[in-house]
């Protein structure tokens, strides 16, 4: 299989799905002529034309709302928000409309649409451009939330998202765009929603992670292997649907769990994962669940301070050692 970047994997997914289905259209700020601020939409305008690949005004709420209407009207729109931070300007259409329309209208209409949004911290973009808002979306019933960690998952999940008849919030990590991995060029290879992947098997500790945190967890596991600590890394891949079964089975096997989340700790998704582990694995747990989280602060600009706010490989190593040393 060819090795390509996360960015190119997403680009390939878009191209394949647009070739496959003429009702797939895409728009967002700078996606057409500029080819995307992160170049995920490179080459789309040239191949599919201005009718299907469209630049929009800087009107985020309307970018999402127009996608809702277009989906209702029989298309499969993929709307790009330049960064997930701007999703906050579109929360009315995302939460009040997109996640409600099917339910409040009694199931009479589907919204086959995707909102793509890059996000995450670590690029010194300061407080307004470094947020990890995944928990916000996971909290609201009525949409799916994808958080791919690898190029293969990025491609396979985006293709599933575009083909799905539910609205999908597709969260890409800005620091992963240049990461490389093997990606199938089979246009029919999809990654299913609601299915975790065990990215590394192990018997001593389960590390539950997603998106870039999975990559850090794998690095931590590699280091810990040198000390004969075998970590099992479970990559959530989608936060909704959430595949509780897979991480619960893993924790039942290892008896210990570390949850890694880039978002703020208070009410962060790690609290939900930990609760589900306690609900299902209480009798198998050998020690309390450890959470490695972003700090509860607005992101500072300074490189030195920013690093404190985002989970690091050494934080995960520390948490694994803590969970191994603690006992009930």
């Amino acid at each position: 299989m060819p090795e390509i970047t996360y960015r190119d994997a997403l680009n390939l997914a878009l191209k394949e799905e647009m070739r496959r289905d003429p009702s797939v259209v895409t728009w967002g700020e700078d996606v057409a002529f500029y080819e995307g601020s992160f170049k995920v939409t490179r080459g789309l305008l040239a191949e599919f034309g201005e009718g299907r690949v469209k630049d929009t005004p800087i009107s985020e709420n309307t970018i999402v709302g127009v996608a809702i209407g277009a989906a209702m009207g029989g298309l499969r729109p993929v709307a790009e928000l330049m960064t997930v931070n701007f999703a906050l300007l579109a929360m009315d259409q995302i939460i009040n409309h997109m996640t409600k329309i099917r339910y409040m209208f009694g199931g009479q209409v589907n919204l086959p649409m995707v909102i793509r949004a890059p996000g995450g911290g670590g690029s010194q973009l300061a407080a307004q451009h470094s947020q990890s808002l995944e928990t916000f979306f996971m909290h609201a019933p009525g949409m799916y939330v994808a958080v791919p960690a690898t190029p293969a998952d990025a491609k396979g999940l985006l293709k599933s998202a575009i083909r799905d008849n539910n609205p999908v919030m597709f969260l890409e990590h800005e620091l992963l765009y240049n990461s490389k991995g093997e990606v199938s060029d089979d246009p029919e290879l999809l990654v299913p929603f609601g299915k975790c992947e065990i990215k590394r098997p192990g018997k001593d500790v389960t590390i539950v992670a997603y998106s870039r945190m999975t990559i850090l967890a794998l690095a931590a596991a590699e280091e810990l292997a040198k000390e004969n600590i075998a970590c099992e890394v479970v990559d959530l891949r989608t936060l909704a649907p959430l595949d509780t079964e897979t991480f619960v089975q893993s924790v039942k096997k290892t008896g210990r769990a570390v949850v890694v989340e880039e978002c703020w700790r208070t009410c962060g998704l790690g609290a939900e994962i930990a609760t589900r582990i306690y609900d299902h694995c209480f009798d198998s747990l050998l020690s309390p669940v450890q959470r490695v989280s972003g700090l509860d602060v607005p992101m500072p600009y300074s490189r030195k301070l920013e690093k404190l706010c985002i989970p690091q490989v050494e934080d995960i190593i520390g948490a694994v050692k803590e969970v191994l040393s603690e006992k009930y």
Partner: protein, 325 residues
């Protein structure tokens, strides 16, 4: 008005419009009664007084044109063809309701009628209407999206984003402002720097007009012209219909911010008796026929209430249905 009704529409259509206005009035007044009895709960925003807008507009649109509205939309749905009994059942929260009792008064929807919903976040329907117009144009369906909203919605960013977008992408969106002069209790002059709402489209070069929203034929003619313009040019147009709600914003609002004189003035412009009078004057119908139409409307509404009362509640298991496909 000089033009005779018959020069505009055939008798059958004119009588149908009168019938629809009467049905909507009877329906809304019955809703008020059912609310008082506790059969309808939650928010209830009634349309009495504004009937000429829904009836005149709907008559002027094609059957497959999309219609979107806000939360004062019972009449819009019924005039479009929704069965009164299924609308009433929805208001009662029953399983037989238009949306299985999950939407209620503010969220009526019927895709078979191209009635694409009542939305209860002020101005939330603007971008959705633009998106539907995009899909219609993309699929070369020849239909337009008619987006109804109140005077309160024009100070939302969505209004301006939607006008800009529809004009920029050359999309067939007909914006219809039902200006009933009040956003809940705030009079339009106290919320809009420019209270002549139709003039606010000039920044987007979207043509617009103002029409007497208490005159069903004036509304019909204005919307007819605007809708065809939108269809022909694949671009946006705005019609501001000057109208009035005879009741408060919702059932919780006694409407004390309006003077008795103002209410009386607008009631003298009530579209129902005024249109009825014209039908008689122009010998399109006699009083007996109009009385019969009213009697029939009362019977339809009574049947709707009976249907809603006797309909079953949704099953508990229904609570989890329809979130996802």
């Amino acid at each position: 008005m000089d033009t005779k009704l018959r020069a505009i529409l055939p008798d059958h259509d004119l009588l149908k419009m009168y019938e629809q206005m009467v049905l909507c009035r009877e329906f809304e007044e019955s809703c008020a009664e059912q609310y008082t009895k506790g059969h309808i709960t939650g928010f209830l925003h009634l349309y009495s007084g504004q009937e000429a807008v829904a009836v005149g507009s709907t008559r002027a649109l094609h059957k497959d044109d999309y219609i979107l509205s806000a939360y004062r939309e019972h009449a819009q749905a019924i005039v479009r063809g929704a069965e009164p009994k299924r609308v009433m059942a929805e208001l009662f929260g029953k399983a037989t309701g238009l949306c299985k009792g999950k939407g209620g008064s503010m969220h009526l929807f019927d895709p078979d009628l191209s009635f694409m919903g009542g939305y209860a976040i002020v101005g939330g329907q603007f971008p959705i209407a633009v998106g539907l117009a995009f899909a219609a144009k993309f699929r070369q369906e020849g239909r337009i999206a008619a987006c109804f909203f109140g005077d309160g919605a024009v100070n939302q960013g969505n209004f301006h984003e939607g006008l800009n977008w529809a004009r920029l992408w050359e999309l067939p969106v007909l914006f219809v402002c039902e200006n009933n002069l009040y956003g809940i209790g705030t009079e339009v002059h106290r919320s809009s720097a420019l209270a002549d709402i139709h003039k606010r489209t000039c920044g987007y070069e979207v043509p617009s007009t103002q029409v007497d929203g208490m005159d069903v034929m004036a509304v019909y003619q204005a919307i007819k012209y605007a809708a065809e313009w939108v269809r022909e040019h694949n671009s946006a147009y705005l019609v501001e219909a000057m109208t009035y709600r005879f009741r408060g914003h919702s059932m919780a609002d006694p409407g004390k911010y309006r003077s008795a004189a103002e209410l009386e003035l607008w009631k003298s412009r009530d579209p129902l008796p005024n249109f009825g009078k014209r039908l008689i004057e122009e010998e399109i119908a006699g009083q007996t026929q109009l009385d019969a139409i009213r009697k029939e409307a009362v019977a339809v509404v009574q049947e709707a209430v009976r249907f809603a009362e006797e309909s079953p509640w949704p099953e508990d298991a229904e609570v989890y249905n329809d979130i996802y496909v």
